[in-house]
Each structure stands twice: as C-alpha cells, then as structure tokens.
Amino acid sequence: MTAVPGAALVPARRRRGPGAWARDPWRKPRILLGITVLYVGWSLLPVLIAVLFSFNDGKSRTVWQGFSMRWYYGDPLRSVWHDPTLHSAVVHTLWLGVLATLITIPLGVAMALGLDRWRGRIPAGANFIVLITFVLPEILLAVALLFVATVLQTPLHLGTAGQVMGLVTYQLSYPVVIVRSRLLTIGKHYEEAAIDLGASPMGAVRRVLLKMLLPAIFASTVLVFADVIDDFVIVRYLSGGSSTEPVSVKIYNTARAAPTPALNALATVLLASSLLVVLLGFVAYRRFTRGERRSIDVFAGEA
C-alpha cells in the first residue's frame, strides 16, 4: 500500500481534468517519489561506478577496458594484495576499528546508564560535553590531540595508541545517544521491579536493563565500527608515519596524483568489509529483536 488511507474514496474527482489533479489532496505524491528516486540514484551511482572501475583491466578510471581482478591481486606490484603499503593500510584500518569499538561501547553504555539516572550539575555538564562532541567538527578534536601529542609527554603518542584514544573520544557520543534514547522508552519500572524482587542495584542493571538494551548496544557497535573504519581526520593527524596510515588517508594522499584503479580496489575492499559488518550486525540484530517490527529504523537513530 503506497496510497494514503482514503484514496479509494476519491477516484471520481480525478475525471475533472489536470487542474483537479493538482488540487486533489489525496493524489499520489509523484513529485516526491521522483525526487526520492533521483536522490537515491545520485547518492549511490557514483560509488557504484567507482566500484565497477576497480575491476577495470586497464589503467584508466574512466574508460572501460574489460573485466579483471588485476587491481585486487593480479598485478604483482600494484594490486591491493601485493602492494605492501595498500595491504597494511587495510589491516591497520580494521585493527583500529576493532580496538576503538571494544573500548567505546562499554564506556559509552555505562555512561549512558549513569547519565540517564544521575541528577545534578556534573551529569548535566557531562551530557553537554557529549552533545558537543556529537556535532563537533572533527578537525578541532584532532588538532587539540595533535598538540597534546607534540607538546606534552603523555601516553598519547602519535601512532596506534593516539589514534585509538582520539577515535574513542570522538565516537563515545554515539552509544551514549543511542542507548539513552532506548532507555527513555524502557522507563524505570523493570529495574524497580527487579530490585523489589531482591536483586541488587548492579544485578538489576546487569540482568534486566542490559538485556533490554541489547538491541541498542548492538546497533551502536555496528555504527561505531563502520564509522571508525571510515574515519579520516583524526587518524590522519594522529598517525605516526606511513605504517599507521589507514585506507582513508591513502585515498586522500593519492586521489589527485594520477592513481591507478588499485585505489578504487582499495576503497572497494574497505566498502565490502564495512557492508559485511553491517549485514552481520543487522542479521544478529533481527535475531535479538524478533517480533519487533521495523527493526531497520534503529539504524536511522530511532532506537
């Protein structure tokens, strides 16, 4: 059913000509449909074309010269598989994704629970900081952390450690925001009931709230991981030389300097791993929330 309820009542009106069609409040939204289709095409086609050219047999990224896997592993020097710099970029990107996600999610979930129930000035301030980091231009945090790494002697070193710390700081707001909006719909009754039945406060959180929050935790895990492996600004500023440069930085460095389709292949590999994680996450998420409808909506921020 694409029509608005009530559409069946009005077809008689349509016979009055084109002017009546424009005035009919129940007509089908063709213009909106057109815009939506155009938008989806515009937003995804360029990327599909870039993916297509990663399979090009020649060096061109604009003229199709036949299908090959040359830029993935065929080419003994410049393919993603054989060029050690491209190869290590993929590995490092995924490694950063795993590390940052593993720290961000527990930290963020605990923070969401705490901020949601703790009243006062400190949690209000902490909440504001979370909101700020949610919309903050990434370069501000990246520059600030770069200064910390260059003018101070702290554990924040350029390289993997600094990158992970920066990424966690930047991503922490996602689980906090998503889990909190889920907590809002859950309310306090369940954990109060658990405590009345003899559970300790911690036990109520662990055995009741966390179970109910699983979908939101899962959604934020997938979101954070996919976002981290696509990150560019923080990982570039805090990278300690070419060995800790992830895929996005490699693309940035070579995109304007006569690249080969190997760059498209590199980007496609990352895209594929991103989609794989999301797909796995979505399938698992469906299992958690069996019976709940519209489960894709949680990924749109409607947790």
Binding site: T2, P5, P25, P29, L32, L33, T36, Y39, S43, P46, V47, I49, A50, F53, R61, T62, V63, A110, G114, L115, R117, I122, P123, A126, I129, V130, I132, T133, V135, L136, P137, I139, L140, V143, A144, F147, V148, V151, L156, V168, T169, L172, I195, S200, M202, V205, I229, D230, F232, V233, I251, Y252, A255, R256, A267, L271, I296, D297, F299, A300
Partner: protein, 303 residues
C-alpha cells in the same frame, strides 16, 4: 539495615557508571582544548620554530592571537576571504542539503509503504561508505576525460570541457552537499516519522490543500527535527578541509578548515591553527548551547 545500604548503593551506582566516560571526555577533550589555548597564547621557540605552550593564564602572550585577528579584519586581511567563503559555502550547502533531504525524508516516512525498509536501507547506505571513497568517486567522474564531461559534450561532439577539479566553487559546494546530505536525511526522517499521519489527514479533511497542510501542520511539527538535522550537518561542515582538498586543491576555494590544516603542520604557525580552532569551536558551541537551553525550557513547558 540492608535496605538503606541497598539504597545508598543504588545512589552511588549511577555516578560510578557515568564516571569512566566522563573522565575520559574531560581528559581527552576538555583538557586538550586547554592545551590549544596554551599553545595559542604561548610562544614559539626562536630556533626550532616549535610551539612553547604557556600553562599559566597570567603569563599568556596575545601576539599570535593579535596576528591572526589583524589578518582577518586588518588591511592585510588575507584570512578574511577564507572565513567569508566558509560561511557562504556552508550556508549554501546546508540550504541545498535541506531542500534535497526534506522531500526524501518525508516521502520515506509517509508514503514508502512496503518499500520503506528497502528505501531506508538505501538512505543509510552512504553512511557505510567511506567519505573519502565517495569523494574519490566524484574525482573519477569529474576528471577532464571523466563521465560528466563526456555527457556534457555528448561524447566528444561538443568542445565543452569544464575543468571541474581546479578551484570551482560549484564543485566544492556540491561536494559538501553530496558528502553531508545523508547525515541530514536520517534525523529528518526520524522527526517526520513521529508526526501522526492522522493530523495531516485531518487537515486535508478540513479542506486544507497540500501546500496549506504543509505550511500549517507538517512544517511546524517538524521544526525541531529540522533544527537538529541542521546542527548535525552544518557544524561538522565548518571544519571540513578534505572535500576542498579532494575536489579543488586550489587556494581560491579554501575554507577555514584548510587554514587550520595548512598551518598546523607548518613550523611556527601552530598558534595560528590554534586561533582558528578556538574560533570554530566557539562558533559551533554557541548554537549547541542555545539548542540545549531551548529544548530544556520546552521540556519544562510540556511537563
């Protein structure tokens, strides 16, 4: 009594949960912002050209700050144009984003029917595609012999070759729209989806046309979602430099992000980068403060 200890434990539980994340953000976000201030109001090593931070506000030296301020508004104001350009580009790109995203989000929330899940997946897809890959896709298309020029010149029949990637403001603004519009679609979708369809149907039943219904019902009810979606797209855009670097790489289109990025790695200019970081930070924190205050008073009115 066990009851009181349990209650005390419960009161302590929430601060305990919120604390790790709060400390993390204070140490790795708030404190680094202070480091930026210390570098901005610090000195520069005369030989090594390294920044020498000054930690005590009493001894802060405003010469680097003055230098930047002079070159924004003074007679030799070579920073001024970039700041104006940032404001114009971001404003135009945000408005275009809203014009594209609103109809798409509205159609998806209201009319997509059984294609809703599929459509939503397609709208979320750009999220999982690395920003750099999406820009790379456009570099491929906009090259001199790229698809866009081929289409414009009808496959080489017309001599209409546009140098898209050499400092064209149009390319940069459209690049920004392409890059950030997915972040706008989703919050708008979430907001529009919450408007009960019955309200709009009631307006039409009472004789309002499509435009009237939109102007007097849909738009006012979606205003908060519009504000949120503008915040989450416009503010991150303020710090963007990579879209510019990828699609233009010309100083004629450089934005404040480019000023930061170019000066932060140049010896002796770190203070300048700090000044611009603080400027962008102020510009992005202010709307957030207003938003938080407005939504808090809104809550009080509701309750």
């Amino acid at each position: 009594m066990p009851d009181t200890t349990a209650r005390a434990g419960r009161r302590l539980l929430w601060p305990m949960l919120a604390l790790p994340g709060t400390v993390w953000l204070v140490v790795l976000f708030v404190a680094p912002v202070y480091v930026v201030l210390a570098v901005l109001f610090g000195g520069v090593d005369p030989i090594l050209r390294q920044p020498v931070p000054v930690w005590n506000p009493v001894h802060w030296d405003v010469s680097q700050f003055d230098y930047v301020l002079e070159h924004i508004v003074g007679t030799d104001g070579f920073f001024g144009p970039a700041l104006v350009r940032t404001a114009v580009y971001v404003l135009v790109a945000s408005v275009l984003c809203l014009l594209v995203a609103y109809p798409v989000a509205y159609y998806t929330a209201r009319f997509a029917g059984r294609y809703r899940g599929l459509l939503l997946t397609l709208l979320i897809a750009p999220f999982w595609i690395s920003y750099m890959m999406r820009m790379l896709a456009w570099i491929n298309l906009l090259q001199n012999d790229g698809l866009v020029n081929q289409v414009i010149s009808l496959g080489g029949l017309l001599p209409a070759h546009v140098n898209w990637l050499n400092g064209q403001p149009v390319t940069v603004v459209l690049g920004l729209v392409y890059g950030y519009v997915p972040y706008m679609v989703l919050p708008l979708f979430a907001g529009l989806d919450r408007i009960p369809a019955a309200v709009q149907e009631a307006a039409r039943d009472l004789g309002a046309g499509r435009v009237e219904t939109f102007r007097r019902v849909t738009w006012p009810m979606s205003r908060q979602a519009v504000v949120v979606s503008l915040l989450v797209t416009t503010l991150p855009m303020l710090g963007d430099y990579y879209t510019n670097d990828m699609l233009s790489s010309s100083p004629q289109t450089s934005m404040v992000g480019n000023l930061i990025n170019n000066s932060v790695l140049t010896p002796g200019q770190t203070g300048q980068a700090g000044a611009f970081v603080m400027l962008v930070l102020l510009v992005s924190v202010l709307p957030m403060l207003l938003y938080v205050r407005a939504s808090r008073t809104g809550e009080e009115v509701e309750s």
